[in-house]
Symmetry: C2
Subunit: 573 residues, 2 copies
């Protein structure tokens, strides 16, 4: 490890080419322009005043550009993390209060420390335990929850905060008489505008146009007098250096949500970073360094009033498509946000909250993934159920619980599969020394005196009885003529001490029945254990063969030798 | 399933042969005679008056004889379950009080219902998750805890109940001045006697001789006047039918310990039943029916004042060695205990508690298993650490916690192993069409244009990045001349949707580098998924081969065909 692997900016900044600016400048400006409405929207989603979304879009971007290994990843506020903040901090303080803000910033420090520690201790591999179906089911459910949480802003009514969609819809219907028509028109109009701009692939981002349209509509038609809720006074200036509050009691309470955000945030970030990196060959995304970079971005940001951030899907895609070559693009975005904070905040006074809600809704509903579910239904039924369980678990029980259900189910399924693995009884391909599953191929040669059993799993404590039971069952089926059983270990990729016990026991069992027991094709790791555990010594070296055909040839030769005395018998000596 | 599989007694009782009595009678009498001291000792260990050990040795034995599939298993009070009762019920009521007794009997019903339900729902396979190292580590630790818990009876002093050995020893030392010499002499004498009788393989069981010796010594020398604690008044007569107490609050509190006892009890019982069955070929132990039998034994027993029972190691071994042929032996034992209760209880008045303690100590210290630990240290280091962790966890944290640690560690290790599986780069055995690990064998042929990669695990969500990373690493090592990569799926025994994604991605990656990517030797279950998921369609049928040599031959032929135009070129057409 050299300095460059800790400071990936050294990979590109010293050799920065002027021509890269042709990509980095437009990409940085586009992402910056997207960040203004998105940042404010996600801050609102998290339960913070919108301006905090801009605070979270300066320092973290610069720190990621220095420490991150992806050159296109756009770090900043994202919907999923914002929702987790709202859910976690919402139980500890009133949404939007000073205490809520202080806790959200403390949360950023905690998330940063956890991610940094995970990176330093090289725990990035843990993210591998989130399987694709689990991520897909979780994301779709979270998108629904996030989308519906904005219904109150879109309709201009009061709906108590809830992570249960049926409650949100029920409350919305109960309050239907209070719906503010002006708010609905602005919000739905903005959604239509964003979708239309997306469809015609217009150069200026839809959300920004929606913000302009919303401000003009409220200001022009005086809609705020008709009850359309607006952002109101936005303080100007950059976020000052502030020591985050740090008391032990709230840290303890924040810890579970901090762990969840660290994990989910990293997962979202690494997924999109890897997806984009696949198209670029000039660098490599290194998961543990990514954790360090996100950790430092969150820690550093927290000292300048930022709430937890991570790398987001949509802005990263835009950044890449706009031609970003290096982290310079992110630095340009950060500068644009800083300029906005210095000079443009008065413009946001008339910005209706319904516009921010529409930005969120369009963003998250795009994340709902029906195609994956349909594909899995066809290709891998077990994974489909995993997706559905995570989806329903997230909707019914909550965000952290949903993920936990998915992970536990996935690992449980893995374990269950290894306890009742596939096995096959093999027959010979006519004229060839190769053996295949008798149940799958016709015309295989099958000798009555030989049983060839292939066990398709690591042989370990949880499946030794399954192994023994089914091997014996096949021996019974084979009947009395059976003289040789062969265990093909071709697809056995491991064995533990219980497995060794089981093989020794089984060898004794065969001996008691006067049946030969041969083992074939042991892989290196199994050979090692077979030697150390005394399996080879106790069975005898002559029971182990390289290939099935060798074992059978050897058995036939021994048989021939047994009859040698008849062939050579004489009474004359 | 016919009636016989629900009532295994029908397998042997209708065809009972007179000659079997020659085995069943001595075995039944021997086990019954053992049961008297053991039953009383384990009742004391559980925190109940000794007589309850005899109550638990009648009805359960008869019920097991009717419903159990093992013909030698000796059901009744056992040390491990007794300790769990003491630990679980001890926090809810004062040891030996009427409430304690009522709770212990309610516990028996709960255990019975849980075991019955597990059997009916065919959950017997769950016991497979207790690996041999975990059982060994747990048993050794529990034996130490049980043994030391009897120190107070052996020394005749008061030691507060504790599951922590260091506390027990500390308290014993602190109270050393109060040690009762008479008690120590009786207790240590009994231990010596039992060990001696065991050594010379005397016909009468050591514990029974110790009981007789203890009663005579106390009675003859008037030791009870010198502070040797005795059992005292023992009520005579059979246990009457009594409705167990059944209130919801205590059931809720008893549930965790009931689950533990159900599981541990079944595990101990099935382990010994299978071990003994291996020597007999006239019947089969069926785990789910065993659960049903133990469940009914516990439920039925509870109506006659029995505390939870299970099949025990030592008495089962004695039963088998004494020649037991069928469950008739158990019925004879039960009759002997009933006769004892009717006529012999006055004899137990002078029985010193130190004798019962010595019976327990000798029994459990024999369960401590150093040999297994030593074997694992040599044969399977990971399993050794698992044993040690379970051992230390049980001693330091508690009985249930120790087992839980062992199971979680074993499964965690299994998962961890599949996330970083073994893989190999293969080379050709000279002159043969077979391929083996280049790192393990010398003289293998290795072509610079071909990389053959074997992945020794199910390809699934938690190892797809490991797969990709190491495959790419090997490709980089192979260098620029690489033209063909082959994935040998020989020891890949499964694939999930994430694995399919990874293979498709990897094929694209190879295409982008102008390298051919072939798959070889897919097993049936993988072929099924490869078809359904569209993997075969998207890669093309011509990329899949039966054997590595076929793939390479085909590649070479294609190469030859590419040069065909040079071979056949003409300007004349």
């Amino acid at each position: 490890m050299n300095l460059r692997s800790y400071l990936p900016i050294l990979e590109w900044l010293p050799s920065y080419k002027k021509s890269w600016l042709k990509g980095d400048i437009p990409a940085g400006l586009t992402v910056g322009v997207m960040l203004i409405p998105q940042g404010m929207a996600y801050a609102m989603l998290a339960g913070l005043p919108p301006i905090y979304g801009l605070y979270a879009s300066i320092i973290p971007l610069i720190l990621y550009a220095i420490f991150g290994t992806s050159r296109q990843l756009a770090v900043g506020p994202v919907a999923m993390v914002a929702l987790l903040i709202a859910a976690g901090v919402g139980t500890m303080a009133e949404t939007g209060s000073d205490q809520f803000i202080a806790l959200a910033i403390t949360l950023a420090i905690l998330v940063g420390i956890i991610q940094l520690a995970m990176g330093v201790f090289r725990l990035g591999f843990l993210v591998n335990f989130l399987s694709h179906p689990v991520i897909s089911g979780f994301t779709s459910a979270a998108a629904l929850i996030i989308g519906f949480s904005q219904l109150k802003h879109l309709l201009g009514i009061n709906i108590p905060r809830s992570n249960h969609i049926h409650e949100i819809i029920g409350n919305a219907i109960a309050n239907a008489s209070a719906i503010n028509i002006g708010t609905v028109i602005v919000g739905v109009g903005a959604i239509a505008l964003i979708l239309f701009v997306k469809k015609i692939k217009f150069a200026i981002p839809g959300p920004l146009l929606a913000v302009v349209f919303g401000i003009l509509a409220v200001w022009g038609f005086g809609l705020f007098d008709q009850g359309v809720k607006i952002v109101g006074n936005v303080p100007d200036g950059l976020p000052a250096f502030t020591m985050p509050a740090f008391d032990l009691a709230s840290i303890k309470e924040l810890l579970p949500i901090a762990l969840t955000i660290s994990f989910i945030g990293f997962m979202e970030s690494i997924a999109v970073a890897k997806a984009v990196q696949a198209k670029h060959k000039d660098y490599r995304v290194e998961p543990n360094q990514e954790l360090i970079a996100l950790g430092l971005a969150n820690i550093g940001g927290a000292f300048f009033k930022a709430f937890p951030v991570t790398g987001g899907f949509s802005r990263t895609a835009v950044n890449d498509q706009s031609g970003a070559k290096t982290g310079m693009s992110s630095i340009i975005s950060a500068v644009l946000i800083a300029l906005t904070l210095l000079f443009l905040t008065p413009l946001f006074y008339y910005l209706p909250k319904a516009i921010l809600a529409s930005v969120i809704m369009v963003a998250v509903f795009g994340l709902i993934d029906f195609k994956e579910a349909k594909y899995l239904w066809k290709a891998d039924r077990a994974d489909f159920w995993m997706l559905l369980a995570t989806f329903i678990g997230t909707l019914a029980l909550g965000i952290e619980e949903g993920i936990l259900i998915g992970v536990v189910l996935s690992l449980g399924m893995l374990i269950f599969r290894t306890t009742t693995p596939h096995y096959a009884v093999l027959g010979k391909i006519p004229g060839k020394p190769h053996y295949r599953n008798l149940n799958r191929f016709e015309n295989l040669e099958h000798r009555k005196d030989v049983l060839i059993f292939r066990f398709d799993a690591r042989l370990y404590f949880a499946n030794v009885s399954f192994f023994r039971q089914n091997f014996e069952k096949e021996m019974e089926k084979a009947g009395d003529q059976l003289k040789l059983v062969i265990l093909d270990t071709d697809s056995m990729n491991g064995i533990d001490s219980s497995g060794v016990h089981a093989l020794k026991d089984f060898a004794d069992f065969c001996k008691s029945k006067n049946i030969e027991f041969y083992l074939v094709g042991m892989k290196g790791p199994i050979r090692d254990i077979a030697h150390k555990s005394g399996l080879i010594d106790s069975l005898g070296e002559d029971k182990f063969f390289f290939r099935i055909q060798h074992a059978i040839d050897s058995f036939d030769n021994v048989k021939e030798r047994r009859y040698k005395k008849y062939a050579l018998q004489t009474d004359e000596t």
